[in-house]
């Protein structure tokens, strides 16, 4: 493979586009983790093989792409250039797509998306509400390119911004542009990236030390998978972003810290780095300009706290991931005690677009007026993982400042199974649960913090009325207790105590004064903990107490779980909807159900272990939880 010089970028783009135009249509088959688990890789191979066998492979091209975001509908197939969207495609559907659609020009109805409200079939991807309101910057290439083909990325403009930053901009201008764009870190804290870069640059000049560029791909927040998806769909966007950062501050070494739990993302990132190196887009003399920058990978080994910046760097140095106090910032003394810029995957993926389209364009998107200070608003878009009890579950990228209602009810299509909205959890274990009264709140960094939650990395977990908020609080606290590194006492001991008290409450052993005690412990943790994990750990508890206090009171005073979740406080019974089908009896692991076929069954409360399987399998709504 030949090295690429600046002039080659346009040539490759034209060549690639010309090649693609020779095909009558391209069949884009989603190969993100979700669709792969539903069998999309063999679907792709089958498609390829059948096109070949029928001699159609010169007319039509099958392409494996990155995640489309609409994971619950997978495997997803999109026929381009028309943009016809097929969902839940099986191997047996391939002949129909080839014959009816590719050759016959008529979309295959049974695979099309059906709008739940209007019951109409929607052939075009852009007309589906899930996609319609989205604005793609970080996810600009999702579903459009083969993430393992560097020329596909170049044909979509990859490395063009890097070439511009290297030849037409001075390092100070690059920093200025990022500052002016007012982009704030997408990893959780929301610190303005440009300010970070500038401080790092100044520290490196002052101390005469080469800085490092680090990409945080640890993404530990439960309920968030945007970084995985970006790396799987468009790894070159991250590489290019980091290289532009390196140009801005004069770095020659970059590192990506990525979770080992993301095998596909790791594989694609490795390939992308190797390809970029081979083609002269990383390493020595990048694009023939003499610029030197290379990227290595460090694998996380399963520790949530390693998403914290100082813990992450300790882990990169091959040590235990324990945070340190941050009176000395990473921009001065970070990785190997040298000035370091740390941004997360999504932030880096945004950088090339800011250089391409300009800071003013980027700053114009989003909320607030950021012309004076990046702290005055939230510019650009944010990727959210919209999951939980929601009709259209998946990854969405929307402009900052959009309301929760628009995301959940317009893009997400609302709550399934006729149930009602209860809360939405944002910000992972550092965030909070927001009730229905907050649905019209615009979503940005500051608004979420104001109401006691936070942006975090963008997890948005929707909960219906069958969710117990005390149980949710307990869930986060036991998660954090497990993940706390144990270095500082307020976090370590505080979480143990909180978990004990919440455990008592969910078992019906709560007492008067428990809520006040929880609040006091939370307060101490907020002021006394060493790092962000402990300081923000109270958020899930405090926000649920604030917005759902009556549920805590029902557990403590009435020994009742209104949502029917807390095992010690619920019983399962069978009502006269029962048809005697015996399905519950067959599936009951505790042999607690008895009866005769065609007659009403009963549950022996002494034997029942509250596993809920009878409730799941009953087709007649005859099992009642109280």
């Amino acid at each position: 493979m030949s090295r690429i010089a600046i002039k080659d970028l346009d040539r490759i783009k034209e060549k690639r586009q010309k090649e693609q135009k020779q095909f009558r249509a391209m069949v884009m088959i989603c190969a993100g983790t979700g669709c792969v688990s539903a069998g999309s890789l063999s679907l792709y191979q089958q498609f390829n093989q059948q096109l070949k066998e029928r001699g159609l492979d010169r007319q039509f091209l099958a392409v494996p792409t990155g995640c489309n975001g609409f994971c619950a509908q997978g495997p997803i197939v999109v026929v381009q250039p028309e943009g016809v969207f097929y969902q839940k495609v099986k191997e047996k559907d391939i002949p129909a797509i080839i014959d009816d659609h590719l050759l016959g020009g008529k979309p295959v109805d049974k695979l099309l998306y059906k709008d739940l409200d209007t019951k109409r079939l929607i052939p075009k991807m852009d007309d589906i509400r899930f996609f319609g309101k989205q604005m793609l910057i970080a996810l600009r290439n999702r579903g459009i390119i083969n993430p393992e083909n560097i020329e596909d990325a170049i044909a979509r403009g990859a490395y063009k911004s890097l070439s511009r930053a290297l030849t037409q901009m001075q390092p100070a201008e690059v920093i200025e542009e990022i500052k002016k764009s007012a982009i704030r870190g997408r990893g959780g804290g929301g610190f303005p990236a440009g300010v970070k870069w500038e401080s790092c640059y100044q520290a490196s000049v002052k101390n005469n030390e080469k800085p490092y560029i680090v990409c945080n791909g640890d993404e530990g927040d439960p309920g968030a998978f945007m970084d995985r998806s970006i790396v799987e769909a468009d790894p070159h966007a991250v590489i290019e972003g980091m290289a532009i950062g390196a140009r801005a501050v004069g770095s020659s070494e970059g590192y990506v810290y990525i979770r080992k739990e993301y095998p596909l993302a790791l594989k694609r990132l490795r390939k992308a780095i190797n390809d970029a190196r081979e083609r002269g887009l990383l390493g020595k003399n990048i694009l023939g300009t003499g610029f030197l920058f290379d990227i290595k990978i460090h694998q996380g080994a399963g520790a949530f706290v390693c998403g914290e910046s100082t813990a992450l760097m300790a882990s990169m140095e091959g040590r235990v991931g324990e945070p340190r106090a941050k009176y000395v910032h990473n921009v001065e003394k970070g990785y190997r005690n040298r000035p370091t810029i740390l941004n997360n995957v999504e932030t880096w993926a945004n950088i090339p677009v800011i250089i391409e389209k300009g800071a003013d364009w980027f700053a114009g998107i989003g909320s607030g007026d950021v012309s004076k200070s990046p702290w005055d608003g939230s510019s650009g878009t944010k990727v959210f993982s919209l999951v939980g009890d929601i009709v259209n579950s998946g990854l969405v990228e929307v402009p900052m400042g959009i309301t929760l209602r628009e995301i959940i009810f317009e893009i997400g299509g609302g709550i399934p199974k006729g149930r009602t909205f209860k809360a939405v959890q944002t910000g992972g274990p550092s965030g909070g649960c927001l009730p229905a009264s907050m649905l019209d709140m615009p979503v940005d960094f500051d608004k979420l913090t104001e109401v006691g939650s936070m942006m975090g990395s963008g997890g948005m977990i929707v909960m219906d009325d069958h969710t117990c908020m005390v149980d949710v609080a307990k869930y986060f606290i036991s998660f954090l207790q497990d993940e706390s590194c144990g270095k500082c006492a307020p976090c370590r001991e505080g979480l143990i105590l909180l978990n004990q008290i919440l455990g008592k409450i969910t078992r019906g052993e709560g007492q008067d004064g428990d809520i006040e005690m929880i609040e006091e412990i939370c307060n101490a943790m907020e002021v006394g903990s060493l790092c962000g994990l402990g300081q923000t750990a109270p958020n899930p508890v405090l926000s649920t107490i604030r917005f759902f206090r009556e549920e805590y009171i029902a557990h403590i005073k009435e020994k009742r779980c209104p949502a029917g979740i807390c095992k010690s406080l619920i019983t399962f019974t069978i009502n006269d909807n029962c048809t005697g089908c015996s399905l519950c009896d067959v599936n009951c692991p505790a042999n607690a159900i008895s009866g005769e076929p065609k007659k009403m069954y009963t549950i022996d409360q002494d034997k029942c272990i509250q596993c809920g399987i009878c409730y799941d399998v009953c087709k007649f709504e005859a099992v009642v939880v109280e």
Binding site: P222, S385, D616
Partner: protein, 161 residues
């Protein structure tokens, strides 16, 4: 995996692959975990010899990160995702079902060394919640009632081998 000498050789190979660089001990241990399904004290001593990282620190690392285990894990590692979306959709009940069916609790391995179960932090497939991985296979929208059938499938796989 039978002779001690070959194991030692394999470990040495892994250490060399990472240039005996002490910044990459975590990566070495990941490879060793993948190869032997656990990290033995002897292996830690071997890493200590090559990298000069103190044994106590290696032990600290091996017990700090979730990916490592000092006891051998089962042939099929069952991971039940405990992410928020999975929790809301009943992952706790799925884990209960695995524990019940296998007669072991979270973090343990069955006597025949066939299965180990573990509730793990988010696997990042939240749209498919609740999610379970068995070995390299990923299952979405798992219901507690499907658990016996899933286990049967892997028992059969092991019998066929």
């Amino acid at each position: 995996m039978s002779c001690a000498n070959c194991d030692q050789k394999k470990v040495d190979e892994i250490i060399r692959k990472w240039d005996s660089d002490n910044e990459y001990v975590i990566e070495m241990m990941q490879d060793i975990q993948d190869e032997f399904r656990h990290i033995s004290i002897e292996t830690l001593e071997q890493i200590n010899k090559s990298t000069k990282v103190p044994l106590a620190e290696l032990y600290h690392i091996a017990t700090f990160y979730k990916a490592f285990s000092l006891e051998p894990r089962g042939k099929f590692e069952i991971q039940v995702c405990m992410g928020t979306a999975c929790h809301v959709k009943g992952a706790g009940r799925v884990l209960d079902a695995f524990e019940r069916e296998l007669g072991i609790t979270d973090g343990q391995t069955t006597g025949d060394k066939l299965f180990s179960i573990e509730g793990v932090r988010c696997l990042g497939c939240c749209s498919l919640a609740p999610v379970v991985t068995i070995g390299e296979d990923l299952y979405g929208e798992v219901q507690p009632s499907q658990v016996p059938r899933l286990l049967k499938k892997y028992k059969k796989l092991a019998d066929d081998e």
